[in-house]
């Protein structure tokens, strides 16, 4: 078959995984350009580089793109590529559903971007608060494209969650018990359950918004008896679990990478796995912390404040487990490991500012300021994106058969670390000074111009880091050192497959008698299963 025809019609999980990742990479570039436009407009006070209306569209599309068209698809891509390999299966449970859910998400993204040519992009922010998102205040079609695009993306995500659960439930190699699952697979499983309960809340809210906008219903329009607060509740019942949906697979990646480069099994596998369940469970009881500024009653919000602090505990357990894995290990600082260790630090900063927000009076003081922007970029970029960089360097050799260049990797790493912290650390300070988010410019108050300029310079450095990453991918695809099947001397099943794997993945799946089947193969004298007390 010809190239294009093959890629459009493929149902192979590896090819679909690559399609997801490439799509996400393209949207990452687009979302990155939007970020640069935001930072250019904000580099000095009183600029008019972007008109206010354009600025609203750009920050809305930046957020929507990064969440729904970059993080979600790239996590799905790593999942559909790796999960079957890691459990010793030949494909996902439903290969055609796998293709369908990819194309749903692909065209959801296309639909979202068509809005630019159909009267203007959506401009009500990534959470599209009512009544701003209603027809009376946003009469152009941008919000309709937003809702329809997200409906496609949401449906695709649900389909892939179903596919992951059935695959992990029914297609594990003999011996791959639930307690021996690689942690990335374990977290993908929990994540899929989270998706099944969270995404339908968004889909229902979108149906209601579309009823309002297209059929003249009024769920969210207060002037006609509707309730804007209902939108906030529904959106965040989806939106807060969504935050964990975007970070749990990243936790899984870190849980694979840190042990391999520390030459130690993960510390407290059971705690890492079960704290994931705790996070998933608690994540449904914290959504109101996005709504502390709405007058909902003191007792009501106190409950959610307490829950929001509680959820820091299982997250902290993971940080301790990863740190304890490092202790006493013989650490190899490859680029993947550098990003993984940086993840620990950056994500912890984001986690701490999150706990600060759970304190209601602090939230009241800082809500809608740049402190919020700083906080969620530390968890989403410092957390998820750093883990994704680590994952890219770690699994690229498996996917392509070639190693990524370590020298460019160092440049990639240091530019991203310096640029990221320069961009976002100062935004904590701007937030504390009261600079509001989502406003296209700002007055020249003491310190604001300097800090914003630092932030914009940081963004340029961060952007250079991202470009080095893309150059590294292209250069390594063409000229990278041949990787062999197992370049990192790792332990999970995907490294027993060829690089890149055969269409059917394995000729024979190694016996699974412990959590580290390849360790057992390489060390028949001291296999894990002997230490664990037999198979």
């Amino acid at each position: 078959m010809k190239g294009l025809e093959r890629w459009v019609s493929t149902v192979d999980h590896k090819e679909i995984g690559v399609l997801y990742m490439l799509t996400a990479l393209v949207f990452f570039l687009i979302g990155g350009v939007e970020a640069m436009m935001i930072r250019a407009q904000l580099s000095l006070p009183g600029l008019n580089f972007l008109a206010p209306e354009t600025y609203n569209q750009v920050f809305t599309m930046h957020g929507t793109t990064m969440i729904f068209l970059v993080v979600m698809p790239v996590l799905a891509g790593f999942g559909v590529y790796l999960v079957p390999l890691m459990i010793g299966a030949s494909d996902m449970a439903y290969p055609r559903l796998n293709a369908l859910t990819f194309w749903l998400q692909f065209f959801g993204g296309v639909l979202l971007y068509i809005s630019f040519f159909a009267g203007g992009a959506p401009d009500a922010g990534w959470f599209s608060y009512a009544p701003l998102s209603e027809k009376a205040f946003s009469p152009h079609a941008g919000l309709d494209y937003w809702a329809l695009g997200l409906l496609l993306l949401g449906s695709g995500t649900v389909g892939s969650a179903v596919n992951f659960i059935v695959t992990i439930a029914n297609h594990r190699a003999p011996g791959m018990t639930i307690r021996r699952l690689p942690l990335f697979v374990w977290m993908t499983l929990v994540n899929s359950v989270l998706i099944l309960f969270a995404l339908p809340a968004l889909n229902a809210a979108l149906i209601m918004l579309l009823s309002d906008r297209l059929l003249h219903a009024h769920f969210f329009d207060a002037a006609q008896g509707g309730s804007p607060i209902l939108w906030q509740h529904y959106f965040w019942i989806f939106g807060h679990p969504e935050v964990y949906i975007m970070v749990l697979p990243a936790f899984g990646m870190i849980s694979e990478i840190i042990p391999v480069f520390s030459r130690k099994p993960i510390f407290g596998y059971g705690f890492v796995a079960s704290s994931t369940l705790a996070i998933a469970f608690l994540s449904y009881g914290v959504w109101v912390h996005h709504m502390f500024a709405v007058a909902l009653g003191r007792v009501f919000i106190s409950v959610f404040a307490a829950m929001s602090m509680l959820i820091a505990v299982p997250t902290g357990v993971k940080i301790f487990a990863w740190s304890a894995t490092l202790v006493g290990g013989s650490i190899r600082f490859t680029t993947a490991m550098l990003f993984a260790v940086a993840f620990l630090l950056e994500f912890t900063i984001g986690g701490l500012s999150g706990v600060a927000f759970a304190t209601v009076p602090i939230d009241w003081e800082l809500t809608d300021t740049y402190f919020v922007v700083a906080h969620f970029h530390y968890v989403l970029f410092g957390g998820t994106a750093f883990a994704l960089f680590a994952a890219a360097y770690y699994w690229f050799p498996k996917i392509s058969g070639r190693l990524m260049d370590e020298k460019m990797g160092r440049w990639n790493f240091w530019l991203v670390v310096i640029g990221f912290n320069m961009t976002f650390f100062v935004q904590h300070l701007l937030g504390l000074m009261g600079m509001p988010r989502r406003v296209y410019t700002y007055p020249n108050l003491p310190g604001w111009a300097a800090l914003n300029l630092v932030s914009t310079f940081g963004a340029v450095i961060l952007g250079l880091g991202a470009l080095v990453f893309i150059c590294n991918i292209l250069a390594s695809l063409a000229f990278g050192t041949r990787a062999g099947n197992d370049p990192w001397d790792a332990w999970t099943l995907e490294w027993a497959a060829k690089s890149p794997p055969l269409p059917e993945n394995f000729e024979t799946v190694p016996a699974v008698r412990s959590r580290r089947p390849l360790w057992d193969v390489k060390h028949p004298d001291a296999p894990d299963w002997a230490a664990e007390g037999g198979a």
Partner: protein, 168 residues
């Protein structure tokens, strides 16, 4: 691997259950301001008749799966169609009383909730039609039956919340 398809369908229905929970939640949220219109305009007797048809269709579906018989599946198709016809008549009667989705909160919540449910019934009918017209796989019938039971069960909840609660 006989259980493969129904597990996937069960998980999909779990997502659907949450989806309907949210829509029913919105109906309940606005119930206070919608109650007067609901009591004035809903037709409990008429709705009860087509509700019975839908419930009966679950029994014929169950027989169809158990006996592998096309006749029972055809009966399911017919009963489902009667349900949609009955609901269509009720919609028409409401329109004539000027109760629409753009009217008050009752219209907004009632038509969105029951309309989305009707789309699910219609989807079920189309799936059955495909199965009856071609050689559907056994696992497809199992999945479609699960879906059908679910859509009926959701209607029981909707009927209780929208109709019974209004008149009791």
């Amino acid at each position: 691997m006989k259980t493969r398809a129904p597990l996937g369908m069960l998980l999909f229905l779990l997502n659907e259950a949450v989806f309907f929970f949210m829509l029913i939640g919105a109906f309940v949220y606005f119930r206070g301001s919608a109650l007067a219109t609901a009591a004035r305009s809903l037709n409990l007797a008429g709705a009860s008749i087509y509700t019975v048809c839908l419930l009966a269709s679950s029994i014929t579906m169950w027989r169809g799966v158990a006996a592998g018989s096309r006749g029972w599946l055809g009966a399911t198709l017919a009963l489902g169609a009667i349900f949609l016809y009955g609901q269509g008549r009720e919609y028409w009667a409401l329109f004539r009383q000027n109760v629409t989705i753009g009217g008050d909160q009752f219209g907004t919540t009632f038509f969105t909730l029951t309309g989305i449910h009707a789309l699910h019934v219609l989807t079920g009918l189309l799936l059955l039609l495909v199965l009856l017209s071609g050689a559907g796989r056994r696992s497809a019938l199992d999945s479609i039956a699960l879906y059908w039971y679910f859509v009926d069960a959701v209607w029981i909840v909707i009927f209780a919340v929208v109709y019974l609660w209004t008149f009791v």
